[in-house]
């Protein structure tokens, strides 16, 4: 019976449901709960249809469901076109499409769209784990295609899986060649939805009490830095971020961009520190570099107070090779307008701080002495360093200095800067990151959001802008060994910044090293990296045209190799006995006696014996022995040996 084209079988449906389920599982984390519930319901419904418990829903039911799904998405996500909304919409529509999927064509369409849906998972997460897990739905989707391309009955579930695995494995080399050589175009080609970058954390352009300590609760990685040469001491690593001039009584802000002031003069001494930073996306323009930057990332801007900024918000992980000089003098001279900006306070607020500063000035102290006095005050009076400071009242500086006396770095930086200004010393707040964690596995520095920090710069005659870190006076450990050492364990620090569980930490550091390489070589493989790497391998500068030619060649060669390997026919496996008999046959054939395909060994032996009467005995002996060995039950090694000798000694002519 010849099977004709049949409808997809139950096995096909199961494959499709399993693969769709796996693809959607990639998305569960960022789908609204009702969407996930709807997917599961629709999947179960379709299965009930497949096993004959229910009928296919009519258009009268499907159409309202579709409209309802669309409306639901619109209400949940406030629109249809953002990243989250589009993905949710695609998920819902695919699930609804499932409800009328019964032909091979629909199966193919759903499978293709599911491939696409898999890609959209990368909009949310591109970690090593997602990269590996992604293979699962891909294998299953491919197996679904295999099942569906066999229209004459079911192949079972195991065979499609095997074939899918084999084909994907065969595809891997070509994929690798394409990945390495396909000329990369720097994106984006068009605007990307605004919500694509929601949920990125990082420094902000202003500082108010509480926002850095909030950031410090996050164990997320801000950036990683690799140094050419030794990693400097942690206490020297001040990663410069926004420089804040303007105080409004509560928060600190950057000075206006419109100020047309000349850039501060920077003089450096000694050798620069060379390093590269891989910055996680944070959707702002801030690029972090060590105090003070001497060479900039390409395409970056330097403000007059030495903040490094990118032209576009950092929305993908970027990497830059730069240098800084830790030994520097910034702005030996300060002009009038800048001095004015750096002395701005608010009249009538924080009277006690104002009075304290005036008292220092009137006691005839030099600016250096005033700085030291303030630091001594922080060190000797009962100030404490904590992640959960009490709320501050109407005059936050006064309240902090004379009342609560416990705070995080932003409190110290803010009040210190304020005191300095009140004492007539130009001062400003700098935010950024301080220190980091050395990963001995990969020999690089991990800087987390929990390393976010704020400090002050005061301008001193002859020394220029000088960094003063009041937090160091309160909690020297914070600067020397990092935040984990400075805070008591009871504080709500992210678990991975803590120091207990050394084995866990070791594992974690190894894992971070894997991630770092993944970021550098897989996720960070952009046009720049591609051209650099391939040029280094080729020995001369390559253009994208060279890449295109190379890609075609590589794909062609690999494809040819795979094709040849695949098309090599399998030989019929023969045993010793058969090979011996074949030798005998070829000897007879050379004498013009050819065995016909319908002839058994004994029949042929008789015919051959009749043609060669003088060899009749040998021929019938060999034929008989062969038939015995082949079909008889008394096969033995000796008999095989005898046959070998007989055939060896046999001559047809």
């Amino acid at each position: 019976m010849i099977p004709a084209i049949q409808r997809p079988t139950l096995t096909d449906i199961r494959w499709l449901l399993v693969s769709l389920g796996l693809v959607m599982a990639l998305h569960v984390a960022h789908l609204a709960l009702w969407v996930s519930a709807a997917i599961v319901m629709l999947g179960l419904w379709r299965y009930a249809i497949a096993i004959g418990k229910l009928d296919f829903p009519r258009l009268m039911i499907l159409l309202p469901l579709t409209v309802l799904g669309g409306l639901g998405i619109m209400l949940t996500y406030h629109g249809l076109f953002g990243r989250d909304a589009s993905v949710a919409l695609l998920v819902i529509m695919l699930s609804l499409k499932l409800m009328e999927t019964n032909s091979r064509r629909d199966f193919m369409l759903l499978t293709f769209l599911s491939y696409f849906l898999t890609t959209t998972a990368f909009l949310f997460n591109q970690s090593v784990v997602v990269g590996l897990v992604m293979l699962l739905p891909i294998i299953c989707l491919t197996a679904t295609l295999v099942g569906i391309s066999h229209p004459n009955g079911s192949l079972g579930w195991r065979h499609p899986l095997r074939l899918s695995g084999i084909m994907l494995a065969q595809a891997a080399p070509v994929m690798l060649a394409l990945f390495l050589l396909f000329p990369r175009v720097p994106g984006p080609l068009w605007g990307v939805p605004q919500d694509s970058y929601r949920g990125m954390t990082g420094l902000s352009d202003s500082m108010e009490p509480g926002n850095i300590s909030q950031l410090s609760l996050s164990g997320a990685i801000a950036f990683r830095a690799e140094f050419k040469g030794e990693i400097p001491k942690l206490s020297q690593l001040y990663w410069r971020g926004p420089v804040l001039w303007h105080f409004d009584g509560r928060s600190w802000r950057m000075s206006s961009n419109r100020l047309n002031l000349p850039r501060e003069m920077l003089r450096v001494q000694g050798a620069p520190t060379l390093y590269s930073v891989t910055l996680e996306p944070h959707n702002r323009n801030i690029l972090l570099m060590l105090d003070m930057p001497t060479s900039l990332p390409s395409n970056a801007l330097l403000t007059r107070d030495y903040q490094v900024q990118s032209r576009e918000p950092v929305r993908t992980r970027i990497r830059y090779d730069v240098s800084s000089n830790l030994n520097y003098t910034l702005a030996a001279r300060l002009d009038g307008h800048e001095r004015e900006l750096a002395l701005q306070t608010i009249d009538g607020e924080n009277p006690r701080a104002q009075a304290l500063a005036e008292q220092w000035v009137s006691s005839g102290k030099s600016p250096e002495q005033i700085v030291q006095t303030a630091l001594t005050m922080f060190r000797e009076q009962p100030f404490s360093y904590t992640l959960s400071p009490p709320l501050l009242g109407a005059n936050p500086i006064d309240d902090f200095l004379f009342n609560t006396r416990s705070g995080f770095c932003e409190h110290y930086a803010s009040s210190f800067t304020y005191l300095m200004r009140a004492a007539g010393i130009p001062a400003r707040v700098v935010t950024g990151y301080q220190g980091g964690e050395v990963n001995s596995v990969g020999n690089y520095l991990i800087v987390r959001q929990s390393d976010a920090h704020a400090w002050s710069e005061v301008w001193l005659e002859g020394r220029g802008w000088t960094r003063v870190d009041p937090t160091a006076a309160v909690s020297p450990l914070r600067i020397e060994s990092g935040i984990a050492a400075a805070l008591p364990e009871s504080n709500a620090l992210p678990i991975l910044s803590r120091r207990d569980f050394p084995l866990l930490r070791k594992l974690y550091l190894s894992w971070d090293a894997v991630n770092n390489n993944w970021n550098q070589w897989v996720l960070g493989y952009d046009q720049q990296r591609q051209l650099d790497l391939l040029s280094r391998l080729a020995g001369n500068r390559l253009s994208w045209q060279d890449l295109t030619i190379g890609m075609m060649l590589a794909v062609g060669v690999i494809g040819l190799a795979i094709g040849l390997a695949m098309l090599r026919g399998k030989q019929i496996k023969t045993d010793k006995l058969q090979r011996l008999y074949a030798k005998f046959l070829s000897k007879l054939e050379s004498a013009g006696i050819k065995r016909a395909s319908h002839e058994g060994p004994l029949d042929f032996g008789q015919r051959a014996a009749a043609r060669l009467p003088h060899k009749a005995q040998a021929i019938s002996q060999i034929s008989g022995l062969y038939a015995d060995l082949r079909y008889g039950s008394k096969a033995s090694a000796q008999a095989l040996e005898r046959l070998r000798n007989l055939i060896k000694g046999f001559k047809a002519s």
Partner: protein, 318 residues
């Protein structure tokens, strides 16, 4: 006057495996491959994925897109290999009547040691027959084509194709084997009784011999048997269609003569004779057939029955 633009059918330019003698091997020179509609759809989805990966700088998006593109390439090789080097031989061709489907039995054999899946074959625009072939195995494919005219019907160009394993590519090959099926003429409507038996060659009036009374047994239904003789009770017991046979009929001997057959034209006469041959055979008569240039002496067996029908099928009166 407007002339419709007619492109030459490009498929006619493709090679057809026309072995002088069977078997035909679907060698690599005879296999063609193109993406299917689904293959194009797949390509469109991949382009979408690539553009997305570029726009959102998704490195993993590149990885997946390239993996699937490479998978498409591998699938092409698999599809091609699935068809390549099959050997096609002809099987038995059973004769059919006009109006039925001519059936051509082909045997596909694998000699490469690879199992083949979803191998399909069809003639012209007929629905394809599908089969799987085990490694070193062979399988029979029964192809059909409506039999419209009596006589020998050639299978013509047979297309073998496969889209396995992913349905993205369509690999095909044409084979033309010496493969023909005999089509018996269409039997006329039952009604005109078989000329009764008599001495030497005369066909006398139909004279019912009353043999209908003696039930002799059942045999399987053959196309053209009178519906009145079908044992409907047996068929209602799901034993298949059976035709009743009667004793008295076996004893008659008669001639079916071209000259004495009514009919307005050649084909009608042939149809009537075909009907009579069937009826006579069913009724177990001894019957002979006299046609222009052919004479088959009376006999009563399957060989004779088919010989008569063949003579009618290939009768050339011009």
């Amino acid at each position: 006057m407007a002339y419709a633009l007619r492109l030459p059918d490009w498929k006619n330019l493709l090679r057809t495996a026309r072995p002088s003698s069977a078997p035909a091997k679907l060698g690599r020179r005879y296999i063609y491959i193109l993406p299917t509609r689904y293959g194009l759809m797949y390509a469109v989805v991949l382009i979408g994925m690539l553009v997305g990966a570029i726009n959102y700088t998704l490195s993993l998006g590149f990885v997946l897109t390239f993996l699937l593109a490479a998978l498409g390439n591998v699938a092409m090789l698999h599809t091609w290999r699935n068809l390549a080097n099959l050997t096609i031989t002809t099987g038995r061709m059973e004769p059919v009547f006009v109006g039925e489907d001519a059936r051509f039995e082909l045997i596909a054999t694998d000699h490469s040691g690879r199992p083949r899946y979803a191998i399909a074959a069809h003639i012209a625009d007929q629905a394809p027959a599908y089969a799987d072939i085990a490694a070193f195995g062979q399988v029979k494919l029964l192809l059909t084509r409506p039999a419209k005219r009596r006589g020998w019907q050639q299978a013509g160009k047979i297309t073998f194709f496969t889209e396995f394993p992913l349905g993205l590519f369509h690999a095909w090959s044409y084979v033309e084997l010496d493969c023909r099926c005999l089509v018996y003429p269409h039997p006329a409507m039952p009604g005109l009784a078989v000329p009764s038996a008599s001495a030497e060659g005369s066909t006398g009036a139909a004279e019912s011999t009353g043999g209908d009374d003696d039930f002799a047994g059942l045999r399987t239904y053959q196309f053209g048997d009178s519906s009145r003789r079908v044992d409907w009770k047996a068929s209602s017991r799901e034993q298949g269609l059976m035709t009743k046979q009667f004793q008295g009929e076996a004893k008659l001997s008669l001639w079916l003569d071209w000259q004495l057959t009514p009919g307005h034209n050649v084909e009608q006469r042939i149809s009537q004779l075909t009907r009579w041959v069937i009826d006579a055979h069913t009724a177990n008569h001894n019957y002979g057939l006299r046609l222009p240039g052919v004479e088959l002496p009376p006999a009563n067996n399957d060989g004779h029955y088919h010989a008569c029908l063949e003579a009618l099928a290939i009768l050339d009166t011009k």
